[in-house]
Each structure stands twice: as structure tokens, then as C-alpha cells.
Subunit: 320 residues, 4 copies
Amino acid sequence: MEIKQAIITGFMGKLKDRFSEYHESKTPVEKIAAVAKVKGAKGVEIVYPYELQDLDRIKKTLKRYRLGVAAVNVNIKGEPEFVKGSSSVNSKKLRDKAIQFICEGMDVAAKLGADKVTCCPLSDGYDYLFQVDYQQAWRNMVSTFKEAARHRKDIFLFLEYKGSETRVNCYLDTAAKTLCMIRDINEPNLGITIDVGHSLMVGETVAESLCLAQSSGIPYYIHINDNNKKWDWDLIPATRNLWDYLEMLFYLKKFNYRGWVTSDMSPVRLDPIAAFERTIDTTEKMIKIVKRLDSKKLESMIREERTIETLTWLEEQVLR
Amino acid sequence: MEIKQAIITGFMGKLKDRFSEYHESKTPVEKIAAVAKVKGAKGVEIVYPYELQDLDRIKKTLKRYRLGVAAVNVNIKGEPEFVKGSSSVNSKKLRDKAIQFICEGMDVAAKLGADKVTCCPLSDGYDYLFQVDYQQAWRNMVSTFKEAARHRKDIFLFLEYKGSETRVNCYLDTAAKTLCMIRDINEPNLGITIDVGHSLMVGETVAESLCLAQSSGIPYYIHINDNNKKWDWDLIPATRNLWDYLEMLFYLKKFNYRGWVTSDMSPVRLDPIAAFERTIDTTEKMIKIVKRLDSKKLESMIREERTIETLTWLEEQVLR
Amino acid sequence: MEIKQAIITGFMGKLKDRFSEYHESKTPVEKIAAVAKVKGAKGVEIVYPYELQDLDRIKKTLKRYRLGVAAVNVNIKGEPEFVKGSSSVNSKKLRDKAIQFICEGMDVAAKLGADKVTCCPLSDGYDYLFQVDYQQAWRNMVSTFKEAARHRKDIFLFLEYKGSETRVNCYLDTAAKTLCMIRDINEPNLGITIDVGHSLMVGETVAESLCLAQSSGIPYYIHINDNNKKWDWDLIPATRNLWDYLEMLFYLKKFNYRGWVTSDMSPVRLDPIAAFERTIDTTEKMIKIVKRLDSKKLESMIREERTIETLTWLEEQVLR
Amino acid sequence: MEIKQAIITGFMGKLKDRFSEYHESKTPVEKIAAVAKVKGAKGVEIVYPYELQDLDRIKKTLKRYRLGVAAVNVNIKGEPEFVKGSSSVNSKKLRDKAIQFICEGMDVAAKLGADKVTCCPLSDGYDYLFQVDYQQAWRNMVSTFKEAARHRKDIFLFLEYKGSETRVNCYLDTAAKTLCMIRDINEPNLGITIDVGHSLMVGETVAESLCLAQSSGIPYYIHINDNNKKWDWDLIPATRNLWDYLEMLFYLKKFNYRGWVTSDMSPVRLDPIAAFERTIDTTEKMIKIVKRLDSKKLESMIREERTIETLTWLEEQVLR
């Protein structure tokens, strides 16, 4: 396992929810500069198109701060015409715009030296029963992502699932449904973005979803945060679900994951720099614990389902 | 039962969530004009201070459109310094500002001919464990609302509960906890605002919470909408939980409720005028059904727990 | 659409939960006789091995009451040695016993004139984090069901998913994960059992899961009941989630479903006969409503996302 | 803080759920003997009437093993006629039987040297909407518990809340509603039993509920276990929600709690002795951590809402 930690730049600027706004606006360059201040941050996930209008400047800024690019996050929900969906809608014109965004995002990713774009189609869903034709929406999504993925084989398209928000029900809600979609798309350069909080929120055990992706041979990419299992609060990791976080990292080690793990933590009422440092530090701490664990011993206890022994041993290894 | 339907004016303007914005901005006067276009709307709930800067103009506009005021909604979460709470915080200065808002809101309510303000302290809560001192926060809230309620006895202060949002945990999360707080405040002019969606979201049966308030002798005021029981989606009423809605209205009839029932429905991806008309029409429809029901028969079936008979009879009465 | 309604015989006997017992024990023959008393019941789902020890007698009894067999429900969780799982466990001996149960169940189904067995592997899961190896468990399940399915091609093996109970987490938790497993098993005679309550409980929209199965070309079979979306309460259908139930039936009509729809309703505190009659009657009522709906009109409103019109029209069509 | 750990004897015998049975039946004396084998167990919570038929023998057995009695658990749901409720029902005869059980339980508690009975009215609730009259049920419960509490002032009656199970909705669902009921009962010898899992399952923060009781001056008693926040799985404490457990213990220390903390953990698929030892050991471990924490420092960080510092410091104190 070789993990590099990145930060989603968007969380360094102004944040909002339905009722309030938090922190000051920042330009993309300022956001990158802010990421650079976070001890331990080695890269960014950056949003196309909104933060990548001036690509050269971004490239220079990243170089200056020696930050890599974990992924380009292609936003296909933010345009006013995308509020009722983009990848899933019946309008070919709108779907084409979403495809165009993804393709351009892939080109930009290549220029930035990233190997992937990640895309979370949050407005693709529904709020009311009897509102949409689920089969048609699925077909539309498959066709959108297929066309986008075929744009270039050297860049991966990662799909990020989430159960709700902004729609009451998002189509791509679970790890398993994302794998179903990836099989239906049937292109070689697809991956799945597992956001720890999204996974917890739909009732998954994060490590189990990771294993499902690993067994399917689908590459995965990790967003980290935490929540109360009810909503995507984007809290600092391991502050609510410590054991889930450790278990996920244990499997990343088992699968010898080499790549980015990216903070999708939202520091709404916290100092962003400090909150991201906490996110990175706590993750480093957990990685250290996981590396320290005797995998053979643990795996053999699991294999033989010696559960109480496992729990006792884990407590000894983890707690002071 | 004599129900007048009102609309929260805020939902007539620009709406937003974490990721998107919906509809155009409107001035308070324009919002009132929009409410006036909704067939069946007899009044507004309007936000102090943000929509009541020019009180005279608002009064005139309301008069012109013959709209009543169900309540003045005092917003004690919107100010930048309120993002970590206002009624519950340790800073007396901030609490005083919240008190001042409520008192001014009460004065404005009186001038508008309303009998109450309603206040939903959504930033009063916490996101992390070990973040706050729960006892101190409770004491602070009790003291804030007590001082505010004592400002004038002729206007009621209604407290609106909600489980989360914007905080992961809001202190005033359930009907029962609100009643606990109201008893601790111990002033005669307190009430409880029961938002159907908030109640569903924390796992309450709305009718049961209504009964709890009724039995406690605490006046209640109703916000209507619907959701999937997981989050406060502010959907059109009865589109997900038809029977819950009917049952609540059945008890409003039983208690001979005479007053406002106010749309807290958020038409993010819908035409606002049409969506509020749907909200009002579906509510009228349900009221008609409830009025048509033979209460004595229903109550006697309930008393004797003849559940299957009740379900059969209800289906006959309600479905075509 | 041509729907025949059946009843799971098990619910006609003694029922229990953690704390209480309900109703009297009945022999399998008595249970079938009880089903025959339910107006509208045309068949049974019956449990192998526990209710099919004396196959000839069961056959005769079914014939006598002119009841069909919707499915043989193969129970691979009830044996004492199955409490920690059967299809997923590392012990080949235990897995073989589960396979044997399913194969025998298939043979019995053929003899009873049924076209399928259905199997809900509820003890296959975990309670603690770090308790199991998720990948190994998945492989074990795939191998178990593959070997069972290959026993005979003329009988289908339907897998029924459920999020929890009896394990905190069951492996086969959602429709999408079941489809993933069915693809991994890769045999022609597999199907998916969609239990309305299981689907609601994991946050699915039932109609959407149905569409997913339909689009995948996987046959589906329906268990009906209702709940509060939190737990599998096996309530009478449409008593909590009326619109979800109607929408599912609307898609069954759209897909011209011809087959069994089976009551998985648990009459713990109700008279069983009356409760099943209510289940069948309310389902008949909903089917009648759905058949009455002008599908073309509804589909065109959905296609054009004229949501408010749809909601208005549905209310007119459905409510008195 | 001086905590003695007890075990609910019932969990030492045969356990069951809807689908399976676990472990062998044991007599009450055998169950006590089993508790005595658990290192660290100092007492029992024992069920009246079912485990206390032969009081003298139980007394002797407890004495022999030097086990105290944390509480007598009065079961008012287990009798066949109690399946639709006991404390809340309209039948005075049934309510009287519930009262009689509680009164006898109090007498038995006195004889056993315990200071309280605890009662969790799980069958008092409803499954369907329009099934019960919520006001009447509340009045019935208040009257039942009032009459019971008045039986003798030297023994406390603790009410234990739970959101569901066995009813879809139990009346006494949250800490706050229990406090409302206790105020309505208005007798001096009432207390609240806070079961960690019940609290988590209804979305409470356990420490916050504890604070609510403490501030209300109502005595509390603690049942320990853990779950996934969705259902009362009665898992070993701190295996899912470590921080919640620590925070609760931190407040017990702050309030200088002196009394019993009782295992309500269900070892369905585990060796009971080992599972209870794990429960006690992990609790001892957490108590040790909490005692080690510099309270002044932590409280001042909380008071000043220096959240990130708090999280950092806690991680240093708690994790290896």
C-alpha cells in the first residue's frame, strides 16, 4: 500500500448549504495555494469546468507547489440546465453537453498528468414517484457514459455513487448498482469512486464495497470523510465510525492499493486548513495502525471466525 | 376544524442547496405577489428580519392582496455570526442578538396582525462528538427563549423542532424534547411548530406528536410537506406518506383546529406557483376526505382496536 | 398483466419474535387448509424442508383445495448449523448441505408443478466489522448457487435479497447486488425475488428495482407487504407506502407480468385469515386502479416530466 | 465514578429471533451460575416474574456467587394477553395485571436488596396508522405507572425507552418522551433506563440523553451494547460506535455516577461467557481511558469549542 493524500479544492473556498454560507470565496489558484499549506497534502482533485478555465495557470500553480492531480472532477450537475439531470435525461442535446464536459475533462486530466476523471451524477435522479421512467433513464446514462468513455482510452472515467442529494433518489446509489452500470457500459477504462460517507449513508460496510469492486476487477478510487450514516455530512474521517475506517484501510493494504486517497471533508464551521490537516493526520495515523497490524494473524482469525479473539486483539492493537 | 392555508414566502424566491441554485431572486414584495397568484392561499409566513425591512410596504402589499399573516418566522441562524448557533451558545452577546431578533419579530408580528412568531433554531446543535457541553447548551436555550417570550405576552413564541440540518444534530430534535424545553422555559405564551416533514424524518408518527402537544395543553402550528423519512426534502404533501397526512388531519379535525396550516414545500425543480397550488389542492382534498369520514365510527373502531375493519373501511372511504 | 395471489404458508402457523409468540402451531396440512379459507388466495409458497416432509399428503391437500404452488421456499438458514451462514461459509460440508437443500427443493418444486424455488440466505452475512472475509464469502455464495442452479435447468432458482435480519448485514442486500451475483453465477435459470418490504427497507424505490431486473432480462417474482422503511415489519401492503405500491403494480402491468404475487405479510397481532384477505383485497383494489389508468397518458406525462400534472391526475384517478 | 458491571441473566439462556434459536435453555439458577463465570461481573439484572418463581433459591444462589442485583426487570410484555400492550391498553383488567407485576417486582427487588425495578413496555405501541388513540394510550400509561410507583416509595421504578420492537412504534420511544411521561406521572421514585443501543437507534447522541436526564434531576440507569444505528442488535459495546461510548462514559464520570452499568448484549452467535467478558473488559478499558483523560482540559476545550484541538487530543489520548 502506498497512499498519497489529496484534497478536493472546492472545499477550500466558499461553502454553502440551504441556509447559510461559510468562509470566503477563493479563486482556483488561491484554493490550490490553500491546499499547499496543508501539511501532508500531496495533490488535488479539481473541478472541470469551473476551476479549470485557465489551465496553464493552474498547471503552473500546481507545479510551483509540487502538487499532483489525483483526478479531475467533472461536474455535470452545476449548469442551470442540468438541475433535472444531465447524463440520464431524454434530451440528447443535454446529454451531449454532459458528454462534452466529460470528454473535455479527460483531455484536461491528460494535460495535468492525471490518469482519471471522476464524475458524480447527482442531479440524475428523481424526487417524486411516477416522475421518471427508470428504464429509459438507465439506458440514457449507460449511453452517455459509454460515449464519454470511448473518447480516449488512456484516461479512466470513474463513476461516483451516492444515494441522495441533490435528488431525493439518485440513480447511481450504491456500489453494486454502479458495478451493474459499469458492466452495461462495457468499456475498459471505467472505474468506481468509493466515497466513504456515501457508502456509509446507504448502509454499506465500506470494506465490503471495496471488496466487491476488487473482486469485479474494477479499479477504485477513494474519497474520505465520515458521517452519522444518515446524511453525507462530510465530517473528518474516523470521528464517528472509527472501526469502519480502519477496516477499509486494512483492505486497501491487503489489496496493496497504490494511489490517491482524497479528502471530501467539508470544513463548514471549522478552519479549513486545520480541518484538512486533521483529516490527513488521522488518516496517516490509521494507516500506521493498519500497517502495524499482523495481517496474517488477523486474516487467520477472520478465516476461522474467531470473532471475540479478533475484537480483543484489535482493541489491544488500536487503543491505548 | 377551520383551516386557512398559508405559504412561506421564502420558497417563492431563489432557492439553493449545496450544489445548485433554482429560480430567480425576488424581493419580498414580489414574493408576496407570487403567493397571491396561488389559488387558495390565504396568507403568508414571512421571515424576520430578511423579508421585513420595509414593514409598511409589506403591510400595504399584504393588504392589497388580502393576505393574512400566519406567523412571522424569526430567523436566528442566518447571520454569519450565528453559524455555530445563537440561542444555545455561551456568548451572551450572541444570545442577546438572537433574543433581540425574536423580540423585534414579535413586535413586527403584532403590527402585522399575527398572533405568533415561529423560530426554528437550526444552527443550535453540533457536528462532532465531544464538541459541546449539552447541559450548558440546553440551559442557554432555555434562558434565551425565556427572555424572548417575556418580551410581550400577547404574541406567542412557537418553537419548531428538527433533527438535523444545518447541524448534524440539532438540539431541538423531536416533539417531546421541544415539550421538555417549553416546560423548562415555563412561560405562558409558548407553542410548538410541528413540521410534518421534520416529524417524519425523526421517525415520529405525526398524529402522535400532535396528540402529545394537545394533551400537554401546548398550542401547535402546522407546517406541511412530505419526504422519504430520511431527510427534509420538503416535497408536496401526501406524495409519499398519504396515510400519515390523512391521520394528522383527522386529529386536527378531532381537536377542532382553527388556524393556519402553512406550506413549507420547496419547489426546487418545479414551477413554484403550480407546486404550491398542488400543495394547497391536495391538502384541501384530504381535508374534504377527513371531513367526510364518520368520526364516531372511526373512533369506535380505533377504541376497540378493530384494525382490519378500520383499514378496510378507510380504503373504501378514501380510494376510488 | 395476469396476477395470481399466493400466501406463504408459514405465516399461517405459530409466529414469533425475540420476545413473544403469536397464534397456535399448525401442521403443514392445516396451514394449507387455512390458506384455502382466504378468499382470493390461489396458491401457496411453501417451505422446504420443514413443511414438505410428507410430499404426497401436501400434494393431495393442495389438489383438494385447488391451490397452486407459486414457489418452493428453500430454507437454508434454519438448521442449527446454519446460524452463522450456509451458502457463504468456508466449510464445504455446510455449503454442500445448503446445495443439497436447494436441489431437493427444486425436485420437490417440479413434483408440485411449480417452476421455481426461492431462497433468501438470511444467515449469510456478518454482525461485526473484521468478522468475515467479504471476498471469500462472495465467492462461496457464487459457487453454492451455481452448483445448485445446475442441478436442473427446468426449475428456476430465485434469490431473495434483504439488508439485515437475522444478520446485522446480509450479503445479498439490494436488488443491484443480487443482479451482480446472478451475473457472476452465470447460469440461465436464475431469477430475483423482490420483496416489497425488503426493497423499501434498504431505501430502494420498488418500481426502480423492478425496472432494473426487467432491463437486465432477469426474471422476477414478487413478495408483497409494507413497512416503515426502517425494518421488515411485513405489514399489510399499501398501509404505509400506498404510492410506492401503486407504482410497482403500474410497472408490472407495463411489463405484462403474468405470474404469482405472494403475501409475505406477518399477521402477528391480527387474525391471520382476515389479515390475508385484507392483503389480497387491497392488492386487487390497487391492480384494478392500475388497470383503469390510461397508461399512454401517464407514460407521456412521465416522459415529458410534467410532474405536477402527473400528481394531480393520479390523485384524481386514485382518491375519492 | 464508581461503576459495577452486571449482566441481564436472560441472555445466558436460550435466545431466539424470528427465524432461529441460539444456545441451550437454562434455569434461572444456571443462568446465575453462568454470570458468575464471567470475570468482572458483579451482579445481575433478573426478570420478574419468569426468573424469580423461586425467590429463596435465587437469593441463595446470588449469595453463593456473591452477585448483587442491579435491578429487577419487570416484564410486562411476555404474557399472551400482553401482546397488544399492557400498560397502555384500554382494558383496566389488563392494566391492573401489569400494575400487579410491577408491584410484585418491587417487592421482590426489596427482598433481593435492589433499589429499583426497570420496565421496558415494548408491546405498548402500534403497528398501523389509525390503529390506536394516542392520547388515550398515553393517559393509560401514565395511570398505570403512577399506580405502580405509588406501591412503595423505597423502590424506584425505572422506565426504559425504545423506538420499536416488538411494535413498529413503541410509545416510549425517546429519552425526551420518557421524561415527559415521568413528569406527567409525577411521583418521586421514577427513573429512566438509558439503553445505549436504544438511544443510538432513534438517532440520539447517548451522552446528550444522559445530560438531559441529569439536568432534569431524574435518576438514570445504563444498559450497554452497540448497534449500527438502525436496529437494536445488542452488539458488544464500542464495536461500532466507539466515540459515542467513550463520550457517554466521560459524562458518567463528570456526574460522578455510582452504580450499575448492565450488559444488554445478546451473544446469539457467540460464546456467551466470552462475549460478556469482552463486553465487561471493553467497558473497563473505556472507563480506564476516560479516567485517564484530563477532564479540566477537555472541558475547557469543549467550552471554547476548539473542536479540532479536541479531536486531535482525543486521538492522542485514546489511540496507540
